[in-house]
Structure formats: C-alpha cells, structure tokens
C-alpha cells in the first residue's frame, strides 16, 4: 500500500472546507409549477402571509464535509447508497454549489458519473465524441488529435459510426469513460463507472488510472467495489449519512467499513 503519511511539498489541488449541500424535497408537489406558485401566493395573501411556499422539507446530503487531496492522490469514497458519495463528487465538480462552506479545485476537472447520459441518440459515436468532448472543454483540434486513441480505448471498432441509440449500456459507458480520461484533467472524478465493460476493459481502465496518478493527477473514485478501492486508491473516505465516518489509508478504511457492516 502507498505511504500517504510522507509529507509532500505540493499544494492541495482539491480543498473542500466544511461543505453543506442540501436539497428541498417537495413531497406534495412533484415539481414546482407557475400555477402552484400562483395558488400558493393567493393562499399566502389570504391565510398565512408569513408562511413561505407550501410544505417543503430540507434534506442535507452533505453535512460539513472537509476533504483535501493533493496531486497524485487517488481517493476512494465508500459508503452505503444514499450516504452522499455522488453528491460529494458533484460538489467537487462544481455541479452543485455548496450551501455552506467552500470548495476550491485547481486545474481542469473532469467528471464521469454515469453511462454517457449526455449523448445524442441519433448521432453516431464519432459525432458524439466531438459534441461531448467540446462540452467537457476540449477544442476541436484537441478532439481530432485524440480521436484515434479514444476510439481505441472504447473498443467500439466500426460501431463508432453507428447511432448511439443502438449502443448497449456497456458501449456507452466505455465511450463516455474514454472521452473523460482524454480530457487530460488535473482532477478526475469517477462514480462507479469502472464497473462497465468486461474484465479486459477494467484492466485497461485501471492502468490508465495508474498512469494518471503517476502523472500527478488527483483522482476521486466513488465505488461499492471495495477490492478496487483497496487496490487502486491511496486514501479512502467512508461516508455515512452525509458526514465523514472515517478517513485514512484505503486499507484501513475498507477494513473498518467491512467490519462495521458485519462483513
């Protein structure tokens, strides 16, 4: 296991400081509507002008999380479903704004959450590489240069020119992963995506992670795959109900988690 207690000179590339992220849950109103707002406004005028907009409950998905990571760190995030793993990754990526606390990330962030949800189904894989790559921040030239390598990693072969709607979930996932790692990010955030594809793909994906780490990139990896966390992560965080239960080397945290789960 890698030694993380060794002091490093480098500055932290990712800093989260006392981050709270909450969501309003509307039990009775599945979505907010203009009509609903109008009716509530009228009700408010007539009945209880001081009471706000209807019944809302607030759910704090992250409750005062502080995390630091330096270049070269591979941080595993483990915890049960609903413990805040994805919320944490999205907050680090800047997708959610923290309600309290602060997040600082240095450099280019690339974030891979799910299986190519941003793809346009009627366009070919190749066309989607350009659209997605551009959304993720690459220039047209950079994409052209990396197209070969993206195609090779995604193992799509001639299917690259077929419409994405004909792809299987695994094919979409591989394509999405291949684009994400070619963004050449300084900080890569991965959410359970390495489980797509067969064993051979996972091996290649794992070796790419190793290469990124050696190139002093910072990687966060949220996963239920404890073996993978133990194997590829330098550190780990155990999240439970939005707070950090334990933080330490990957081995320590995974063992504590397993014994805590009774497994």
């Amino acid at each position: 296991m890698q030694n993380t207690s060794e002091p490093r000179e480098t500055v932290a590339s990712v800093v989260a400081d006392g981050v709270w992220v909450g969501f309003a849950i509307r039990y009775h109103l599945p979505e907010s509507t203009l009509r609903g707002a109008f009716v509530r406004g009228l009700e408010g005028l007539v009945k209880h002008p001081l009471q706000g907009a209807g019944r809302k409950e607030f759910f704090w998905a992250l409750q005062g999380i502080s995390v630091q990571a330096r270049p070269g760190d591979v941080v595993g995030i483990i915890g049960k479903n609903g413990s805040g793993k994805t919320t944490l990754l999205r907050t680090l990526a800047g997708i959610w704004q923290p309600d309290r606390g602060q997040v600082h990330v240095q450099g280019v962030v690339s974030c891979l959450m799910s299986f190519g949800v941003g793809f346009r189904p009627n366009l070919s894989g190749r066309e989607n590489v350009f659209v997605n790559g551009s959304i993720l921040g690459l220039s047209r030239r950079q994409i052209s240069e990396r197209l070969e390598s993206i195609m090779e990693l995604s193992e799509l072969g001639t299917f690259i020119d077929a419409p994405v709607r004909t792809y299987s979930a695994g094919m979409k996932g591989r394509l999405g992963f291949s684009i994400a790692v070619h963004i050449d990010p300084d900080v890569l955030l991965l959410d359970e995506v390495l489980t797509v594809g067969d064993a051979a793909f996972r091996v290649r994906a794992g070796s790419i992670l190793d290469r990124l780490r050696e190139n002093n990139k910072t990687i966060f990896l949220a996963s239920h795959n404890l073996d993978m966390v133990k194997k590829s992560c330098t550190r780990a965080i155990w999240l439970e109900k939005g707070i950090i239960r334990l933080e330490g080397t990957a081995g320590e945290v995974v063992e504590a988690y397993q014994s805590g789960m009774g497994g």
Partner: protein, 276 residues
C-alpha cells in the same frame, strides 16, 4: 450589472466551439431520421404559409381579388419571421431541463443550450428568407438602397429573440409548466402580430379598421414582433424605409432583453442543477 453581462458574454465567447457543435448537432439530430432531412428547414414555413393562405387568402379573401401572389409572399414573410421567435422560445424554455444529463455531469455554462437552440432556429429563418428573396427576384423585384438596413434589422431581431429565450430558459428551470404558458402566449401574440392582416397602407394593401386610429396603431407597434415583421416587409417587399424611431425602439428593446437574460443567467445558473 455590467460585470454580470460581461462575465456571461465572456463565458459564451470562450465556449463558442461548444455552441457551434451543439447548434449543428441539434440541426442534424432533429432531421437525421426524416426522409426529407434538412429540407424541413424550408418545408416547415412553406407548409404553414400554405395553410394560412388557404384560410385567410382563399376562404376569407382578405387581400381582395387579383392580389393572391403578393398576399402569399406577405404571409410567408410574416410566418417565417414569427416562427423564428415561436420555435426558439418553445425550445429554449425546456432547453435547460432537456440537458439535465449533461448539466448533472459537468459544470458547463448553462447559457450554451438556449443559445445553440436559437442559433439553429436562426439558421432555419435565414433559409426561409433566402427562399423568399429568390421568389421576389424571380417575380421581378428589384431591391432599393434600403436593403442595406437588412443586416441591422436581422441582427436586432436575433438579439431580441436570444434575450427573450434566455429569460424563458431561466423561468423554465424553476417552473415546469412555463412551456405551456409559452405556447399560449405565442398563440396570442400570433394573432396580435400582422402575420396575415394589414396594419398599414402599403403596397396597395389597406390597413384594417382599428388601425385607422393612430393611438391604437402606436400601441400595437409596442409589440416588437409587429415592428420586426413590418420592418422586414418594408425592406424586402415594399422597398420603403422603416421609420427610424421604430428601428431605434426595436434596437433598444433587443438590447434590454438580452441584458436581462444575461443577468438572470449570471445570477442564477449556479442553482439550476438543483432544480432540474
């Protein structure tokens, strides 16, 4: 305020390549599976024109006898111009929610989505105008010097539609039924704009009754869509100069709506992800 507008403009400029990809892929994505493909950019306004022509030209005979050719062109210009605003708004109001997947996966400036929608529709609009000009030239129309104002009017119209689309996109994030409202409002505006009737005496067509009253007419022209449609008719059909006050008014409204749209995005785009 100025800083907010600048910040959004800079963000959008930095993402111009993304906007171009989204625009062209949006156009292709829409038409890829249709047999007639991109021809629909032209067929759509032509078919709408045909419908309105049959209803208002043939059934109601609004243009009077012997004017049907010119009335067709009159309606076509109105329809093409109106459709640009209508379709842009309809798409923009759902554009943020429609890209939930991307927005929940990466932190991208949210304005690129409505901007790309409006650009794609502007492309359709320009094709429609090109067809119109081709018909005009074929039927013996010779442009006057006033045609030099055309880029100014088109630019102002684009800015106006973009601004209102950004505002609609912002509202659409927070209220799901905003798209229903846009549909209804655009229907009302359609009848409140001179697409198939006459508000001024031009080219031999006579203004309809209510517009003989100058106050009514002035109020009527507060609707920027009326102004844009009539300006384009002045330039393309009548070879006349639009009123300079009207042009200044249109430019003012356009800039104001774009500024409001950009400020809304600058202030609230960080919260969009949570609402969609």
């Amino acid at each position: 305020m100025r800083a907010e507008v600048k910040q959004q403009m800079r963000q959008l400029f930095a993402r111009r390549e993304t906007i171009r990809f989204l625009t062209s892929s949006g156009l292709q994505d829409l038409n890829r599976d249709k047999i007639l493909g991109n021809l629909w950019s032209l067929l759509d306004p032509l078919l709408f024109m045909a419908v309105y022509y049959v209803v208002f030209g043939v059934v109601f005979n609004m243009a009077g006898s012997g004017r049907s050719g010119q009335f067709m062109i009159y309606i076509f210009l109105g329809v093409v111009t109106f459709r640009f605003a209508e379709v842009s708004l309809g798409q923009s109001v759902t554009s943020i929610r429609g890209h939930r997947g991307i927005i929940h996966e990466t932190n991208v400036p949210k304005a690129v989505f409505p901007v790309a929608s409006v650009l794609a529709r502007f492309y359709d609009f320009l094709w429609g105008l090109l067809v119109l000009v081709a018909i005009l030239v074929a039927t013996g129309y010779r442009p006057t010097l006033f045609i030099l104002l055309l880029p100014v009017i088109l630019m102002a119209y684009f800015v106006f539609v973009l601004g209102v689309s950004l505002i609609a996109a912002d509202i659409g994030v927070f209220f799901v039924d905003a798209s229903n409202l846009v549909t209804v409002v655009m229907r009302v505006l359609f009848y409140l704009s001179p697409v198939f009737y006459f508000v001024r005496d031009r080219g031999g067509f006579k203004a309809m009754g209510p517009f003989h009253n100058q106050t009514v007419k002035a109020l009527y022209f507060l609707n920027p869509l009326t102004g844009f449609i009539e300006c384009l008719r002045d330039l393309l059909m009548w070879g006349a100069a639009p009123s300079r006050w009207l042009i200044l008014y249109l430019i003012g409204v356009s800039i104001a709506s774009l500024v409001v749209g950009l400020i809304l995005f600058s202030r609230r785009e960080g919260r969009y992800a949570k609402y969609i």
